[in-house]
């Protein structure tokens, strides 16, 4: 069962719509018992880092999520803020992140007239091989839709699978073992996002 984790933040319906389009049924739930039965987890997120981590803690989801990710080692995909939650922490707040990926989250510094948030379609390039990005090789341009004011940098470049540039180069998608993260919104990145979800379902 694919579980889209509902902790009160994020565009859950869009993710479910796209999964439905590629023929996959997903359960949207914030119930720890349901999450415990997941075979794949999608962790969405829109909003502030601390608010999100608090809600995850208050909903009693942290233990079950840790167990699924680190003990059962099922494929987990964090999207946008959901990817930032996978890191150890963010410059946006003081709360401890999930820490499943050796990485930290930083704030964009507005430079050269670049506006924050970074919002819109941007090109990405491959920085490492991953099952999440198979079938992208023959594309001359791969682009995704981004909306974020903070970005992730991995400690170890081997965990970076896609990079994008917005004043600084940052990790647009990451993988560490069974844990995947996408800073952009694959559910809103038509063909490219669809393929990424298909890849995630085949991991």
């Amino acid at each position: 069962m694919i579980v889209i984790v509902d902790y009160g933040m994020g565009n859950l319906e869009s993710i479910r719509n796209m999964l439905r389009r590629i023929g996959a049924r997903a359960e949207v739930t914030g119930d720890p018992e349901q999450v415990a039965r997941a075979t794949r987890i999608v962790l969405p997120g829109v909003g502030a880092f601390d608010a999100a981590m608090k809600r995850i803690d208050e909903a009693g989801l942290r233990d079950v999520l840790d167990h699924k990710a680190l003990v059962d080692r099922i494929p987990c995909l964090g999207i946008c803020l959901g990817m930032q939650l996978l890191t150890r922490g963010s410059q946006e707040g003081k709360q401890r992140g999930l820490g499943w990926i050796a990485a930290s989250t930083y704030r964009f510094q507005p430079t050269d007239g670049l506006k924050v948030p970074h919002m819109g379609w941007n090109l990405v390039h491959r920085s490492g091989a991953s099952p999440l990005t198979v079938n992208f090789e023959h594309e001359d341009e791969v682009r995704f839709y981004f909306v974020h004011s903070y970005y992730v940098r991995v400690d170890d470049e081997r965990h970076s699978i896609l990079k994008a540039n917005y004043g600084v180069e940052f990790d647009a998608a990451v993988q560490q073992d069974n844990i995947f993260g996408a800073q952009f919104h694959p559910e809103k990145s038509h063909r490219f996002g669809m393929r990424m979800f298909q890849n995630f379902l085949e991991v």
Binding site: G120, Y166, K188, G193
Partner: protein, 255 residues
Amino acid sequence: MLRPRVIPALLLRHEALVKTVRFGRFEYVGDPANTCRIFNELEVDELVFLDILASREGRAPNLKVLSEIAAECFMPISYGGGISSVEAAGEVLKSGFEKVVVNTAALDRPELVTELARAFGSQSVIVSIDVKEGWLRGQECRGMAGRRSTGRAPVDWARQLEELGAGEILLTSIDREGTWGGLDLELTRTVADAVSVPVVAHGGVGRVEDIALGIKEGGASAVAVGSLVVFQKQGMGVLVNFPDKDALGEAVGWR
């Protein structure tokens, strides 16, 4: 780096898509969900849906139609029409939209813009400014789908909206809308120069070159298009289409 966005602006009238000329003369374009499917295939960057009757009829957003649209759109989508509270905006976002558009309700109660920005973040809040040339006073902002005069000057209102927390401004020239005659570049430039939030220029695009002009000369961050992407040509039948990627890239200077 980001590319300038080209955004089809689709007009909802009850449950159908229509196209207008200077905010009048409705012409039926098609079924919303079906049109979305075509725009998916065309890999369009973003769509904005505007219910042109909701405010006039005092109606809340039609969530049934919005859910049907969201289920078919795999790109960022915005909705405007009849949103007058944080709750109503929340429902629209929850149905699968990324951004809400307000106009009349913000003219009535400007604090709404701040409330929306606090609740959902500025990036989710677009304020639409509909501009019409008046007999004496020059250009002014209009509410109620162009029918209500406000006496506000576009630049002043845009500045105020930025302060209130608007994340983006959809700037429409009522006089150009549906005419194929090109954007009001002067209006676009004065507003884009006055604010630092992205300005989406709308109203009058009839050629790919008009899009490029809106960005280069108008200083817009994005351009919204209507007739160009729903009709075959001016005066001809409905044909949902989108400018060729290479032609657009060349005109706008992506490559």
